[in-house]
Amino acid sequence: MIENPSTSTSATGSARVKRGLAEMLKGGVIMDVVTPEQARIAEDAGAVAVMALERVPADIRAQGGVARMSDPDLIDAIKAEVSIPVMAKARIGHFVEAQVLEALEVDYIDESEVLSPADYVNHIDKWPFTVPFVCGATNLGEALRRITEGAAMIRSKGEAGTGDVSEATKHIRTIKGEIRHLQGLSKDELYVAAKELQAPFDLVAEVAERGALPVVLFTAGGVATPADAAMMMQLGADGVFVGSGIFKSGSPERRAAAIVKATAAFDDPKAIADASRGLGEAMVGINVADLPAPHRLAERGW
């Protein structure tokens, strides 16, 4: 590792630097991978980053048990395989898993509801870390609380490991709709809105002014086809996470490349049609409506 210039004016880990990496990922697809071989397939297919995991959400769901941070050896092996950013998941509230992931020099930490929460009250205080964090949200208030704790990127939660995109749709529509609602409020009404959103007033006022979150907003959870990804982009997502949808499908190489293409050409139905041809079987999936409430991951985090 080369030392960075240590002039008095240089800074690592600033909000701009942390949020900046997410800005560079926009329009891209971040793919869950569980082996270096899958990471290679993802990079070759055009993934903008990979999420290093021991089990994809569909398997966590099927196998049950406590889901934790990945083995450092696995993360190192995936980092060694690819040149694109490598992300890894820490349990909600597990600040020591986050410290370990920072020591491993992952490029982003996902404080994720897909793993078993380590703290049912507090999320991680993300400001002291140099590595940036992405957090899940089902609505605007949740997104703003995560940003207040230092998240530098937000992803809508969806329902991971199902291949059913309906929850992702609901969450991105909710967040976008709540932002549009704020834009129509007067200042006195914004105080009440901040109270109802359970988020700091200054941040609520900033969102109302900009008409957008101050950080990048991706979507996640149940995206399984090129059309799913393009739909998320048309609904206003800055990019997509694809978890089980690629490596639980018949032809991961082709499906991964097709989802990348459809995400970039999201407003061109002909291009999406072309990308959708000859992909083999999509992941079988589970309808979210058939999932009993205790098995819904999106309800983890608050």
């Binding site: 800074a11 560079m24 329009g27 903008v48």
Partner: protein, 200 residues
Amino acid sequence: MSAGAPRVGVLALQGDVREHAAMLESLGAEVSLVRSPAQLAAVDGLVLPGGESSVIDKLARQLELREPIRERISAGMPVLGTCAGLILLAERILDGLPTQLPFGGLDVDVRRNAFGSQVDSFETELEVPALGAEPVHATFIRAPVVERVGEGVEVLAAVGERIVAVEQGAVTGIAFHPEVGGEPRFHRRLLDRVERVSGA
């Protein structure tokens, strides 16, 4: 927008397209997003944004933009590339994917992720004499560096020994992101050049 405003495109396949478009618009340019050869043909200058160079390369080939972009660059179209954009403008990419192809335009070799991983990303004040005495506030995110500079390439800035901004003819490549910190001078320079070249 006045009829004489410079027409500038931002290659909009992946990356921080929005930040560049906003910066160009604030400087009075007529900005369009470029995702097809027809859209490229309608602009007089181009920004290659930050993002993942390997992804932008792939999409440019799939959407049949690579050859038209190369032709326009060799015909003298003014271009500004930031970070991934610098990588795409290099003659040769060190540490790229084996299949990765740059557009070319700058006779330089560029190394990807030369400063390390995201925890090594930083912002700093950078001397860029070509833009005046006031330093540039530069944000480096998993940034590349220029490792070889060919004849006719001017070095605009360096961090210590490491070259982070170069120019050759109408093509400027920088390893950092002026667009995320509100620094307008590189974009102004591009627009001035577009106005001169297109005689607007």
